[in-house]
């Protein structure tokens, strides 16, 4: 198997964490993984993206020209990466911030109102976990239980309550697939 995922949005939306959890979960499953951030003179409110590869074989290039999946947390990200997604690939769209429809008709599209659900849960910051939950449910790239484990490792400094909230967000997102 080979999943090449681009995750993109505003800086501060937790884009890099989405990628890291997919990579960590893949590693826990004994797969080969790589996580590559875009980096630059960027800050909160700017653009952020990362590329994650989960593979049963050695990961060659960490740079991906045509990802099999795109998680777009805002409209500029969809505009930038939509055309690059492979045919029959997956595009997960944050419907709360993206008003337009996906133009491609040769990919699978899932629309998730990630910010609205996060607000319902009482914390806008978990919108990233909502959309990640949807991606995991749709792609089955890695197992949700391993995303939970990765989350516990990544948020070890956070309170139990915070980890529980993130898990809840993942589960709510997983209903969209």
């Amino acid at each position: 198997m080979l999943d090449e995922i681009i995750i993109a949005g505003f800086g501060g939306q937790g884009i890099l964490l989405i990628g890291r959890l997919i990579a960590q979960a893949g590693m826990l499953e004994g797969k080969q993984v790589s996580w590559m951030p875009s980096y630059g003179p960027e800050m909160r409110g700017g653009t952020a993206n990362c590329t994650v590869i989960v593979s049963s074989e050695e990961v060659a290039s960490p740079v991906v020209s045509n990802p099999s999946s795109l998680i777009a947390m805002n409209q500029p990200s969809l505009d930038k990466f939509e055309s690059l997604v492979e045919k029959d690939g997956i595009i997960i769209v944050n419907k709360s911030l993206i008003s337009r429809n996906v133009k491609r008709d040769d990919v699978e599209v899932v629309e998730v109102p990630a910010n609205d659900i996060a607000n319902e849960l009482g914390n806008l910051r978990v919108a990233n976990m909502v959309i990640l939950g949807s991606y995991i449910a749709k792609s089955k790239s890695v197992k949700m239980e391993n995303v939970f484990r990765a989350l516990e490792e990544a948020l070890y400094r956070q309170s139990e309550k915070m980890i529980k909230l993130n898990k809840e967000a993942l589960e709510r997102g997983a209903m969209f697939c």
């Binding site: 890291r20 990579a23 960590q24 590693m27 080969q32 993984v33 790589s34 996580w35 590559m36 951030p37 980096y39 630059g40 003179p41 990961v59 060659a60 290039s61 960490p62 740079v63 020209s65």
Partner: protein
């Protein structure tokens, strides 16, 4: 079983250094390697007897490295392209004084202050000397996060073995990306004793000096001869990965992160019925000329690809001794080559 950890390249270098017994680090932050200095601060400050200094400048850092190396410590510094340029005087001095140390260069776009994105434009500087005088560094070029760790440990060992500075030549992409990494057991007791030459208390022995000069020309020439002999001796350390060299239509030569991008191009090319061989120098100095020479006749065309305007291409030409037609393709300034671009270039050459 050793645990696999998901780590950033920069942090993996730091952990590997500590694993290999490095207890002294001096550096000044610069993107894209700042996670390394931050990691060393976090880790070394908790180890008894270890020293971490964020110095006032790159110049100060490299001279602190000189001091710690002269005292017999396993010592490291790190920076990125413009910062490495600032260290060159000190590196030349350390080489003349025949002291071991590890210098990490996580390259970014140049020249000048350049950009902060990944590049490979410091190949000449790293492999041909960099500072003034007749000398070379041992230069290792990792292509994965695991190799960043393994080659960092190897750099310390080779540096001690030859009493010559060793450089890890990576790039911003390798430094910033995360991959699983394992740290295999390393016996710190295997580090060679430095008692016969290191400075310290001269109690019970004759006083020693370690200096980067000799004002007697004849004596200075002797130092150069000794260095030259070391560079001849270390040729046997040359390493090169050879991939898919069974009847290739074309051979690509690339190092570091670019070699991995080539590996994806190899997979893509197979679908189009094109067989691409890959030669990946792991040591850039000593350069694996013999492996290149043995292999270049296996295809009519050779493509060297780098994230620079073409620097390693000269070493490949020298190794090939005119026995192959060598082309070059590169992107630079911080632009990362894509697998598709390499494949297109290959197709153009095979037309």
């Amino acid at each position: 079983m050793v645990d696999r950890l998901l780590m950033r390249g920069n942090e993996a270098i730091g952990e590997a250094a500590i694993h290999a017994g490095c207890r002294y680090y001096f550096g000044y932050p610069i993107t894209p390697q700042s996670e390394l200095i931050a990691y060393m601060a976090k880790r070394l400050l908790k180890i008894e007897g270890a020293t971490f200094v964020q110095s006032e400048s790159e110049l100060a850092a490299i001279n602190m490295v000189y001091g710690a190396a002269a005292a017999g410590g396993r010592v490291m510094t790190s920076s990125s392209s413009p910062g490495i340029s600032l260290k060159q005087e000190g590196i030349s001095y350390i080489t003349c004084a025949e002291l071991p140390c590890v210098i990490v260069n996580i390259m970014r776009g140049g020249p000048g202050l350049g950009s902060i994105q990944p590049a490979q434009g410091d190949y000449f500087q790293a492999t041909k000397g960099g500072g003034h005088g007749d000398y070379h560094l041992i230069v290792l070029a990792p292509s994965t996060v695991q190799e960043l760790a393994d080659l960092t440990i190897k750099a310390f060992d080779l540096s001690d073995k030859y009493r010559n500075p060793a450089m890890i030549l990576g790039d911003g992409l390798l430094g910033q990306m995360m991959e699983p990494v394992e740290f295999k057991e390393y016996d710190i007791n295997s580090i060679p004793s430095k008692e016969s030459w290191a400075l310290g208390s001269s109690h019970g022995r004759e006083a020693r000096t370690i200096v980067p000069f000799n004002l007697d020309a004849g004596e200075m020439e002797k130092i150069n001869n000794r260095l030259k002999q070391k560079y001849i001796d270390m040729q046997k350390e040359a390493e090169c990965e050879v991939v898919n060299m069974d009847n290739p239509d074309i051979i690509v030569v690339a190092y570091g992160i670019v070699a991995r991008i080539v590996k994806t191009a190899i997979q893509k090319a197979k679908k189009d019925g094109i067989n691409i061989g890959l030669l990946r120098p792991i040591t850039l100095y000593p350069f694996p000329s013999a492996v290149i020479r043995e292999n270049v006749h296996k295809a009519k065309k050779i493509l060297v690809t780098e994230m620079s305007m073409g620097q390693m291409v000269e070493d490949v030409e020298l190794a090939a001794c005119g026995k192959a037609e060598i082309s070059f393709y590169g992107r630079t300034g911080g632009v990362v080559i894509s697998p598709v671009e390499i494949l297109e270039e290959v197709k153009k050459l095979l037309k």
